[in-house]
C-alpha cells in the first residue's frame, strides 16, 4: 500500500540523476513580463523589496513580491535586458498584471506578456557547460551566475542565461524564439545524448525532486508566508519604499512566528499530504503537540530517502528532532539536502 511514486520509478530516477551526474535538459518556459518606460525602475523598486535599479544590463536578481501584509505573492527573477527594459520571470502573470495595475498610479511604465515569443530550455548538470558550448556560437565559460547574454545557436539568435532551479553549480537556461523550438529540441537532444545526458520529461522531477534536494521553493511553498519565515529576507533594501515594507519591518523587529525546516522520512511507502499538492498539508506533531504543517514531501534520489519541508512554529523544531506526520516518523534536518 502507498507504494512510493518516486523511489521505484526508474524513469524519474534516470531523469533526476542525469542532472546530478551528467546533464539534463528540459522545457522550462516561464511567463515573461516585459516592463518598460521612463519610470520602470522606480516602479519595480516599489514592487520588489530587493534592489532593482542597481542591476547592470544583462544581470538579474531573485526576489519576492509582497502584498501590504508583507506576505509573499510571488517569487520572481528580474532581468535587466536594457537600461529601461526589464524581464520579470514568473508563473503568476495574470495576478501580477492585476497587482501591477493596482500600483501603477501615474508612473510612466508599461508591461507586456512576451511569453508567446519565447521558449526556454533548462540545461542543467555537471556537463551543462560542455553541452551549451557544443551548441553556442560563442563559448559561455566566462558567463557569471545570474547573467544573461545574447548568443547564437545554428544561426538563430538566442539568450543564454546562467541560472537554474536544480542546485547544480553549472546550469543554463536558453531562450529560443518560439518558432525555432522544435528544431532546437532536436539539437538539444543530440547534444545531451552525446554527453550521456537526457531530456527531463517528468514535471515532478523538474518542479519538485530536483529543487527540493537543493532547498529551493516552488511557488506554492511560499504562499501566505513572509520572507523572514522562509529565509528569503537577505538582500531586502530597508532604505527604500516597497510594498509590504511596513508590515515586514514589524516582522523583522518582533521576529517571525514560523520558520521552515527540512525533514526526512526513512520509511519509503508513506501517505503524507504536502501542500505542494494543493491541500492543508499534513499536521506535524512533536511529542504529541501540533507544531506545523508539511509544505512538501518528495524523494531524494541522491540520498535515497523521502525529503521535504515543514512550516513550523518558530523554534519548535531543531535538527535531529523526531516528529510524526500521519503516523509516520520524520527526522528534522536543514532545508538543503545535497
Amino acid at each position: 500500500m502507498y507504494q512510493n511514486v518516486y523511489k521505484y520509478d526508474e524513469m524519474k530516477r534516470s531523469e533526476h540523476m542525469a542532472v546530478r551526474k551528467t546533464v539534463g535538459w528540459y522545457l522550462w518556459t516561464h511567463q515573461i513580463v516585459e516592463v518598460t518606460g521612463g519610470d520602470c525602475v522606480k516602479f519595480l523598486e516599489m514592487m520588489f523589496p530587493k534592489n532593482i535599479g542597481n542591476l547592470a544590463v544583462g544581470r538579474e536578481r531573485y526576489t519576492t513580491m509582497l502584498d501590504e501584509k508583507g506576505e509573499i505573492i510571488d517569487d520572481v527573477v528580474v532581468f535587466r535586458m536594457e537600461p529601461e527594459k526589464f524581464w520579470v520571470s514568473t508563473l503568476f502573470r495574470a495576478e501580477m498584471f492585476v497587482w501591477f495595475a493596482a500600483h501603477k498610479g501615474d508612473l510612466d511604465v508599461t508591461w507586456t506578456d512576451v511569453t508567446p515569443q519565447w521558449e526556454m530550455y533548462a540545461v542543467q548538470g555537471p556537463k551543462s557547460l560542455e553541452m551549451v558550448n557544443s551548441l553556442a556560437a560563442s563559448p559561455v565559460d566566462s558567463q557569471k551566475f545570474f547573467e544573461i547574454k545574447e548568443n547564437e545557436i545554428s544561426g538563430v539568435s538566442v539568450y543564454i542565461n546562467r541560472a537554474g532551479f536544480t542546485g547544480e553549480k553549472l546550469g543554463y537556461e536558453i531562450y529560443f524564439p518560439k518558432a525555432e523550438a522544435p528544431e532546437m529540441e532536436k539539437k538539444l537532444r543530440a547534444a545531451a545524448e552525446a554527453l550521456g545526458g537526457k531530456e527531463v520529461t517528468e514535471f515532478q522531477v523538474m518542479a519538485w525532486t530536483l529543487p527540493t534536494e537543493a532547498g529551493f521553493y516552488y511557488m506554492r511553498d511560499l504562499r501566505h508566508t513572509n520572507p523572514f519565515e522562509v529565509g528569503l529576507e537577505n538582500g531586502i533594501n530597508w532604505e527604500k519604499d516597497f510594498i509590504g515594507k511596513e508590515a515586514l519591518m514589524k516582522v523583522r523587529d518582533e521576529g517571525p512566528a514560523r520558520e521552515v525546516v527540512g525533514f526526512t522520512v526513512e520509511e519509503a511507502d508513506v501517505h503524507i499530504k504536502g501542500r505542494h499538492m494543493g491541500n492543508e498539508g499534513e499536521f506535524v506533531y512533536k511529542d504529541g503537540e501540533y507544531v506545523g504543517r508539511c509544505m512538501k514531501i518528495v524523494y531524494s534520489y541522491v540520498n535515497e530517502i523521502n525529503n521535504g519541508t515543514i512550516i513550523a512554529a518558530k523554534g519548535a523544531l531543531k535538527a535531529g528532532d523526531k516528529v510524526l506526520m500521519h503516523g509516520h516518523e520524520a527526522v528534522i534536518t536543514g532545508t538543503r539536502f545535497i
Binding site: 524513469m11 522545457l27 508563473l91 520529461t201 515532478q204 494543493g278
Partner: protein, 410 residues
C-alpha cells in the same frame, strides 16, 4: 382568488439582494444552500436517470451514449468558445512548461472542489495523476454517469493540451466510484506509453490501471466532508499545487450549473437527434418518473415535520395549506440563484413567476422535470386535493400555480 401576498418576511425575497431565506424569515447560510442545491439537483437527476434506463434498457448502450456526449460536449466548449482554453489555463495556473494533458488534473481538481466533491490530490505528474474524493453529491445517480464524468475530464485534458507543447498523453480512469458503492471516487490517469494496458472502449474507463499498487487510499477516519473553501485548516481557501487559490464564492456558480442531469439530458437530445428516441417518448418517461419521485419525497409525517422546522413554518399554517409547498419551492429556487417573483402567497394559492432560462440551465426538458417533480411532491407534502401546475406563463417565464384542483384524469 385574491392573488394577495400575505404578510411574510422579507417581501423582497427572490430579488437577489438577500441570502437564502424562507417566507417565514428562516435563513440558511450560503454554505448550506450550496450543499442543498447540489444534492437537490442530483436527486432530480437520479429520477431522470431512471427515465433514461426505461428508454434505453441496455447498460452498455447507455454508458456509451453518455460517454460520447460528455466527451464531445466538453470538447465543444473548449473548441467553440474563443479564448476559453487560454482563460482556463490562466485561471488554473497551467505553467507554460507543462507538456501534455496531465494539466487536466488541475481542471478536475478545481471542478471537484467547486462541486463540493472534496478529497485530495495524491499524485500529479506528467505520466500519472491520482485524485481521491470523499464526497460526491452525484453518487446516487448511477455508474453510467460516473463513467461519463471521466470522459468529460478526458475531453478537458485533451483540449487543454492542444494549447501546450507536445507531450505525453494520459488516460483518465475512475477506478473507484462512490456511485458504485466504493468509499471514494478515485481517478487514476496513466500514460499508456509508460504504463501499458490493453486497449479498451471509451465507456470502459473504470480501470483496471497499471499502477494500482501506487494508490494512496485514505482511511475513513482521515476523510473530509467539506471542500477546502469551507475548512478552517485550509484558511477557507481552495488551493492547488500550482498556487491557484479561490474562496467559496467560486463554488456557487458551479453548484447551480453542473449536476447529473447536465450529462443525461444532452445525451437524450443526442438520441432524439439520431432518431433512436422521440422527444415525446423522453418527455413521457421523465414525466412518469419525476412525478413518482416527487410523491415519494414526503410520504412520512416526520419528513413533513422536518420540513416545517427547516422553513420555520408557524403553527398558524396548517397541514392543509399550499404555502408549505410554496415555501419549500422558494428555498430551492433561491438556492439555485434563479430569479423569481411571488405573484400570490396565501392560504388558497401560491403563484410564482420563475425565470425559465435560469431554471432550464440550457436544458429545456429540465423545467418540465422540475414541474412534474414538484407536482408529485405537492400531493404528498400537502395532500391530494392540492396540485401544482404551469398556467399562463409569460414569454421566458415559468408561471407556477399551487392550489386545490380537481382533475379526473390525473
Amino acid at each position: 382568488m385574491s392573488k394577495k401576498v400575505d404578510p411574510r418576511m422579507p417581501k423582497e425575497v427572490g430579488t437577489g439582494f438577500y441570502p437564502v431565506k424562507s417566507p417565514w424569515d428562516k435563513m440558511i447560510s450560503y454554505h448550506d444552500a450550496a450543499h442543498y442545491v447540489q444534492r437537490y439537483t442530483n436527486i432530480v437527476s437520479a429520477a431522470i436517470m431512471q427515465a433514461f434506463r426505461m428508454l434505453v434498457p441496455d447498460y452498455v448502450e447507455r454508458s456509451k451514449a453518455m460517454c460520447t456526449n460528455a466527451y464531445n460536449r466538453l470538447s465543444y466548449v473548449y473548441n467553440m468558445i474563443p479564448g476559453y482554453t487560454e482563460m482556463n489555463a490562466d485561471q488554473l495556473h497551467m505553467h507554460p512548461f507543462m507538456r501534455g494533458n496531465f494539466v487536466g488534473g488541475l481542471i478536475g481538481d478545481a471542478g471537484d472542489e467547486d462541486l463540493l466533491m472534496c478529497g485530495r490530490v495524491n499524485d500529479f505528474g506528467t505520466y500519472r495523476a491520482e485524485k481521491e474524493l470523499d464526497v460526491c453529491y452525484w453518487d446516487i445517480i448511477g455508474t453510467e454517469l460516473c463513467r461519463s464524468t471521466t470522459q468529460s475530464l478526458q475531453a478537458c485534458a485533451d483540449c487543454a493540451s492542444r494549447l501546450r507543447p507536445d507531450g505525453p498523453q494520459i488516460e483518465y480512469h475512475m477506478v473507484e466510484a462512490k456511485g458504485a458503492g466504493d468509499r471514494h471516487c478515485r481517478i487514476v490517469a496513466e500514460c499508456r506509453k509508460k504504463f501499458p494496458m490493453p486497449e479498451h472502449e471509451q465507456w470502459e474507463c473504470f480501470g483496471p490501471v497499471a499502477t494500482a499498487d501506487q494508490i494512496k487510499d485514505t482511511k475513513e477516519e482521515d476523510t473530509v466532508s467539506e471542500s477546502m473553501m469551507f475548512r478552517e485548516e485550509c484558511d477557507y481557501l481552495f488551493s492547488n499545487g500550482t498556487n491557484m487559490e479561490k474562496d467559496w464564492r467560486s463554488a456557487y456558480p458551479m453548484v447551480t450549473m453542473s449536476y447529473g442531469a447536465s450529462y443525461i439530458l444532452p445525451t437524450l437530445d443526442d438520441l432524439i437527434r439520431e432518431g433512436r428516441l422521440t422527444s415525446e417518448q423522453v418527455d413521457y418517461a421523465i414525466h412518469c418518473v419525476c412525478e413518482a419521485a416527487g410523491k415519494a419525497t414526503f410520504i412520512d409525517d416526520f419528513a413533513k415535520a422536518g420540513l416545517r422546522q427547516w422553513l420555520g413554518v408557524p403553527y398558524s399554517i396548517s397541514a392543509d395549506d399550499g404555502r408549505l409547498m410554496g415555501g419549500y419551492l422558494e428555498m430551492f429556487i433561491q438556492s439555485l440563484h434563479c430569479p423569481y417573483e411571488v405573484e400570490a402567497f396565501n392560504g388558497t394559492e401560491c403563484i410564482y413567476v420563475i425565470d425559465r432560462a435560469a431554471l432550464a440551465n440550457n436544458m429545456p426538458k429540465m423545467v418540465n422535470a422540475y414541474v412534474w417533480f414538484w407536482y408529485g411532491m405537492t400531493k404528498s407534502l400537502v395532500n391530494a386535493q392540492w396540485s401544482l401546475w404551469e398556467e399562463d406563463s409569460p414569454e421566458g417565464k415559468l408561471r407556477i400555480k399551487i392550489a386545490k384542483k380537481v382533475d379526473k384524469f390525473c
